[in-house]
């Protein structure tokens, strides 16, 4: 069954971990958004600090692996980036609440690297407050 989709007016955040971000060289990997089934958090459901608590609980499972930041983008803006890409791609954000994270949603599509990197350039990066 198809899951309901987030509205274009919503803002979402993607957890950024050590594997995705080389903080020393300030480079991101396209794998942050290539997917498929990229997990994001919905800011309309939980505030950013609460989402960081969840990200840390879910993703900081190893001593040296941790959530470093969260990348925020507006759903409509994300979809526009997909539509205006040289090979246009329809992007949806499907609502997928979990017991451990009621704000959970997923981008089901597999995105090309070029598009993922375009999205990453538009992210507003929030550093870990904890």
């Amino acid at each position: 069954m198809k899951r309901p989709e987030c509205l274009p007016t919503e803002n979402i955040v993607r957890a950024i971990c050590t594997a995705h971000w080389d903080t020393e060289k300030q480079r991101f990997s396209s794998s942050l958004f290539t997917g498929p089934n990229t997990s994001v958090g919905r800011l309309i459901i939980l505030p950013l600090n609460d989402l960081f608590v969840i990200f840390h609980r879910e993703l900081d499972k190893l001593p040296d692996s941790k959530v470093l930041a969260a990348g925020q983008i507006n759903v409509g803006q994300l979809q526009e980036i997909g539509n205006s890409h040289n090979a246009p791609k329809s992007i949806t954000i499907e609502i997928d609440p979990l017991h451990s994270n009621p704000a959970h949603a997923e981008i089901p599509q597999k995105l090309p690297r070029s598009l993922a990197l375009k999205i990453i350039k538009e992210l507003k990066i929030h550093n870990d407050p904890y």
């Binding site: 050590t18 594997a19 995705h20 794998s31 997990s39 001593p63 040289n86 990197l117």
Partner: protein, 194 residues
């Protein structure tokens, strides 16, 4: 095709060193001593082992002896060679050690552990190409593969993801992305574009 994650050291891993490339890179290997291949395009690896191990890298800790295709060597890489560390830097080497600890599901349930084959493919590729304009960053992808990312002199991004049996690439300068196999010709083609 998946290989064993790092945490399982008991398994041998099959991978990917192009023998022609090895021949070019390690000219001190006496290829004449290899003799005639026992079958077309095949060598018995046992005749290579004592020659290759000291020449290539201290990181190639285990080689299984059996007959294999000419484009493959059996190996098991537990750490990066000094040569690769000199390319990706100490920061990259540190990141590699972190990635080795990642367990299945590290990316919201989807991430695979680091692939030994991916590591070996990257090692062998970097013997063919190391002329990076800037020191590349090392990443781990959800597929358990190592990925290098860097920029050219104009700040345009390039990425290479090392799968066990292929390399995916993206070059912003050429607005091109795709994948290549691990054969000599395709490797040469991609190297010429980097």
């Amino acid at each position: 095709m998946r290989d064993q994650p790092y945490r399982n050291y008991s398994q041998d891993a099959v991978i990917i060193i192009n023998m022609l490339a090895l021949g070019n890179l390690f000219e001190d290997i006496d290829t004449a001593s290899l003799g005639v291949p026992p079958k077309e395009n095949k060598y018995c690896l046992s005749s290579l082992v004592t020659t290759i191990i000291p020449a290539v890298s201290e990181s190639w800790s285990e080689i299984k002896t059996e007959e294999i295709g000419i484009n493959e060597v059996l190996t098991n890489i537990e750490k990066l060679s000094q040569r690769v560390i000199s390319i990706i830097g100490e920061n990259g080497a540190k990141r590699f050690e972190v990635f080795k600890q990642y367990r299945e599901g590290w990316d919201n349930g989807y991430g695979l552990p680091l692939s030994m084959r991916s590591t070996a493919v990257m090692e062998s590729f970097l013997y063919k190409f190391s002329n990076f304009k800037t020191e590349p960053s090392l990443f781990l992808t959800r597929n358990g593969n190592l990925q290098l990312g860097w920029e050219n002199k104009y700040g345009q991004i390039a990425e290479l993801e090392f799968y066990p049996d292929k390399i995916e690439f993206y070059m912003e300068a050429l607005d091109m992305e795709g994948q290549i196999g691990l054969n000599e010709q395709e490797i040469k083609t991609i190297v010429s574009m980097l």
